[in-house]
Amino acid sequence: MGEAFTLLGFGPEGWGHALLTAGLTTLAVSACAFACGLVLGTLCAWAKIAGPPVLRRAADIYGVVLRGIPDLLVIYLFYFGGRQIVTAIANQFGHTGPVEISGFVAGSLAIGLISGAAQAEVLRGAFHAIPPGTLEAARVTGMRRWTMFRRIIAPQALRTALPGLGNQWQSVIKESALVSVTGLVETLRAVSVAANSTELPFLFFLAGGAIYLAITTVSGLVFRFAEWRAMRGQPAMRVGG
């Protein structure tokens, strides 16, 4: 037991620093991916609600395709496929040999793309939960579209979307473990390396699990708090009134 503490600690023989950095990398990848997903999701939700038919169709297809493909394949496509494309382009310009691309960037984009499909659904549902009369009341004042989106639509929709977005954030954190296949040293990669070199795989994968659990638990609490704050004085909104 003492040995385990030394190994997981921050001493000269401990992996503490490595794991801490890796945990932060997990958070960073997740945050970038979630942000990508939010942008994509918002655009797609808009396309589905009010976009021209072509965009609406495109958003639908995007959703169906991304929900039908394993996350791991999407990451492979971005990482290895991206490398293939970048290499081809570089070779056109006289560069020889393969070009490496960042696992961080490829991973964030891939997971962002996956999450975007789900976030679009969350946001669309939230938009449709807005009582239409409140939009009419804004329209009748001569409010501009952008003001209406900023002041009336977004605040109401975000409240309703908060639980769904919270779930998406949790999914993104868990999906970020897949980025380890690109060699990016996030939590899972770091514990794999430690497991290998110490020959204590159970200990280190358990520690890795604990890191993820800590992140998901704390974010769960943060989202719960945010929901509580957003719902202050809004008892009617929960029942869709």
């Binding site: 039908g68 394949l73 293939q84 494309i85 795989p201 159970f202 994968f205 699990g209």
Partner: protein
């Protein structure tokens, strides 16, 4: 796009489909049984409920991939296990993958089941009680059918997500569709074509499952659309 190359790769990847399907079917059935057991445990006692909650919390709070690694690589850390009779089984990546997928699926499925049970209207239960139904009859005739109908869409999503999750088995050397694709890429270096082929296979599979679930849903919820009843027989 090099069609000849794709025509060559596609059958190679399809060869992994049986393994993908067997992983999915085994872990889903195992997961369903475990989920029912968890539900029973939850209903049995306070301690049982605490255990079930903890189980769900752990498995839903960590990535599936780390669960697979913990079982596949982690268990080897214990000499007692390595020398036990179980070792020939636990050394097998297939067994480990199914085990991890199953345990993971059980956590999600038990939550879906819980949601379905919670959605059973209390009036339906009261009516059954008043009619003098015994507890098992009530469970079998009223509660479970209603809960199942309620949970079907969510469970359908869980089935497709498990089918997709089987691709993680490739990380512990299993040659299912994704594993074969990965191997093919390391030979041909044509990542885009190969992975897109694999993606198409999963997409078709998932689409078929989704259709099936929709069909089931429509069949099971005819009682919800009075318009159908009014149509001439």
């Amino acid at each position: 796009m090099d069609l000849a190359f794709i025509a060559e790769v596609f059958p190679k990847l399809l060869a992994g489909l049986p393994l993908t399907l067997s992983l999915a079917v085994l872990s889903l059935s195992g997961g369903a049984v475990l989920a029912l057991m968890l539900s029973g445990l939850r209903a049995s006692s306070w301690l049982g409920a605490q255990f079930a909650n903890f189980y769900v919390y752990i498995f839903r709070g960590t990535p599936l991939l780390i669960q697979i690694f913990l079982i596949y690589y982690g268990l080897a850390q214990f000499p007692a296990l390595r020398h036990s009779l179980l070792w020939p089984l636990l050394r097998e990546p297939y067994v480990c993958a199914v085990l991890a997928l199953m345990l993971n699926d059980a956590a999600y499925t038990s939550e879906i089941l819980r949601g379905g049970l919670r959605a059973v209207p209390s009036g339906a239960i009261e009516a059954a009680k008043v009619a003098g139904m015994s507890r098992p009859t009530m469970l079998r005739r009223i509660v479970l059918p209603l809960a199942f109908r309620q949970a079907l869409p969510a469970y359908g999503a869980e089935v497709t997500s498990m089918v997709k999750a089987t691709s993680l088995a490739s990380v512990v050397t299993l040659m299912e569709v994704t594993g074969l694709a990965r191997a093919e890429v390391s030979q041909s270096y044509r990542a885009i074509e190969v992975f897109l082929c694999a993606a198409v296979i999963y997409l078709v599979l998932v689409t078929l499952i989704t259709r099936l679930v929709h069909w089931l849903e429509a069949r099971l919820s005819t009682h919800r659309s009075p318009a159908l009843d009014r149509s001439p027989a």
